[in-house]
Amino acid sequence: MSVKSTAAGASPAKGRGRTSPRGHAAKPRTGDPGLVQLLTPEGERVEHPDYAIDLTPEELRGLYRDMVLTRRFDAEAITLQRQGELGLWASLLGQEAAQIGSGRATRPDDYVFPTYREHGVAWTRDVDPLNLLGMFRGVNHGGWDPNENNFQLYTIVIGSQTLHATGYAMGVAKDGADAAVIAYFGDGASSQGDVAESFTFAAVYNAPVVFFCQNNQWAISEPTEKQSRVPIYQRAAGYGFPGVRVDGNDVLAVLAVTRAALEHARSGQGPMLVEAFTYRMGAHTTTDDPTRYRRDEEREEWASKDPIARLKTYLEREGFADEAFYAGIDAESDALAKRVREGVRNMPNPGTMAIFDNVYADGSALVDEERAQFADYLASFEDAAAGSSAGTGH
């Protein structure tokens, strides 16, 4: 089985023409032909025969704004962790295009199952950024209503959510709904049994789910080579559905490919795997030290593929944005950072008795008993304090 034939066979698009409808075929194609790219690292627009996209300058500026604000939010969260306001943070630095491109490809009635790093996807779903910080601050373990924005709670256990996404998609299909589900996971998760089982279930039941793997090259300190002996997108072929690799630092390509994959799912053609080939510029989390396991040169090489810089180059080359636009985004970034900073610091601690809340939907005599006992215990301190203050009066 050759890589090339798998890649070609995996494509969901029908047209295999050599020239694109927009007439850009004369422009040089760059990089790996198995890697879908629409914007080169140098900010040059190229075409791919299977994945066309035509965005207005306003839409392009919108993607740029999303990425910049998401990066700023992420930077602010790292700072807040360093200042002791958050217990932990998982940075998305470098993965803005993979997340914004795929998130903007979803429709409101689609449903997203994230890991714990999908801050950019959450942004595209209009989830309040402060909601994402509750679990990292330690005031809850999730804390938002997943059905408000069709964005599930972050999942810490690696790969579990791919099965939830698949089951949800089976339900979507049962309902006859015209929606799709997208499950996010990383290259490390691709080794988990749950991901393999979700591929099996999704294929067997033709579930409308897109598996979106952000291959950021590192699962904490383990490189992708420790997870897979073939490119991850090729694994889809073994389950009988298409897989495609996209330049994960190219927001246009990610948007185009994810749109096509979601449409593939919505139209009843079943699951699809998208591997966004990207890079985690920072540490795995704020407790990690990547200098122990990866070379500076590698990071520098990927820095030259920065998703935001490349879109900016393109915007400037085409004259799609002016100084006022960038100044506006700077101001918006500052406002967002301020809101996040103040919001986190003012986030109330849960009341002690919240320990006993929502353990069961239908209640439990055992929880009720322990809640009452603990309330009595706490009240005993107040009684003692009242007693001693009364005593000082004598």
Partner: protein, 325 residues
């Protein structure tokens, strides 16, 4: 309207009624479709409700439970069959880290009405991984409810109540009682799913048991009656939560308690019950709470299971020891 039926048939009728009453109820598992399950608990349901409601799944336990979670998030009420007790462990991660906690993590905004049916326990001459009693491992997990019927009537009613419950319920079916017949009043009002019942009244000692061991305890009570001893038998029915009030009331009458289960005694349900009842009934107890159950050893090969499983004699021996204090 009372009918006589085996426990297996009662479960089957219960599932049928649940499928009829609520279009969101789904049956999922390995071989639950055309075969009707390896114990035939889902017999005929695939034929009558179709493969959209009675779903044969790939052979992947984590996948079965994980996708059931997703279906529940979409508004369905999946009833999952795990083929045998020892096969639940590939799904244990999904049950413990995901199913049990999601309601709390969402601050109550979402519900996970998933029932996981597990045929459990020994006594049928099976090979390894087919005779185990892992209930304590689930009862220990906050967010899960754990129940086990001991007779046909409870099998019929408790399963429907578990399916109606908005919490995840681990439903342990005593597989060696599948073929025991009993009276089922299908028109009665069911009792509280988590209430223990006094299955046999007595005055000298309380035996607390659930699932397959209730029958053994009732037989022990009958045998003891011949010797002039009066044994009270409490059928716990629910292991999480446990109805300690009913056990306490019984022990306050009898002054003695023996807890009986098939699962290993070490860290088992009996330890929890002994500790709580000692705390609640210290001044009523005439003897320490004793436990009868499995050993801290792998479930033995079938040729030894009669020696391993608590039978009449081991229960009566514990009764003798409790009365000797």
């Amino acid at each position: 309207m009372t009918q006589t039926m085996a426990v297996a048939k009662a479960l089957n009728e219960s599932l049928r009624k649940a499928l009829e009453n609520d279009p969101k109820v789904l049956i999922m598992g390995e071989d639950v479709g055309k075969l009707g399950g390896v114990f035939r608990i889902t017999d005929g349901l695939h034929k009558d409700f179709g493969e959209g409601r009675v779903i044969d799944t790939p052979l992947a336990e984590s996948g079965i439970v994980g996708t059931a979670i997703g279906l529940a998030l979409r508004g369905y009420r999946p009833v999952v069959e795990i083929q045998f007790d020892g096969f639940v462990f590939p799904a244990y991660d999904q049950i413990v880290t995901q199913l049990a906690k999601m309601h709390a993590r969402a601050l109550g905004k979402i519900k996970l009405p998933v029932v996981i049916r597990i045929p459990y326990g020994g006594g049928i001459g099976a090979v390894e991984h087919h005779s185990e009693s892992p209930e304590a491992l689930f009862a220990h997990i906050p967010g899960l409810k754990v129940v086990s019927p001991s007779n046909a009537s409870d099998a019929y009613w408790m399963l429907q109540q578990a399916i109606e419950c908005d919490d995840p319920v681990i439903f342990f079916e005593p597989k060696r009682r599948y073929w025991d017949k009993g009276e089922v009043d299908v028109s009665a009002l069911p009792g509280d799913l988590h209430r223990a019942v006094v299955a046999q009244q007595g005055t000298d000692i309380t035996l607390a048991a659930y699932g397959p061991m209730v029958k053994v305890c009732l037989e022990a009570a009958a045998a003891a009656a011949n010797e002039g001893r009066s044994l009270e038998v409490v059928d716990l029915r629910s292991l999480s939560p446990i109805d300690f009030d009913t056990i306490q009331a019984s022990v306050e009458r009898t002054g003695r308690l023996v807890v009986v289960h098939e699962a290993p005694v070490f860290y088992g349900a009996g330890a929890e019950i002994a500790a709580r009842i000692t705390e609640r009934c210290f001044y009523h107890l005439e003897a320490p709470v004793l436990r009868v159950g499995g050993f801290h050893a792998p479930y033995p090969p079938a040729r030894l299971e009669e020696e391993y499983l608590p039978g009449l004699d081991r229960v009566l021996d514990a009764v003798d020891r409790a009365l000797a204090f």
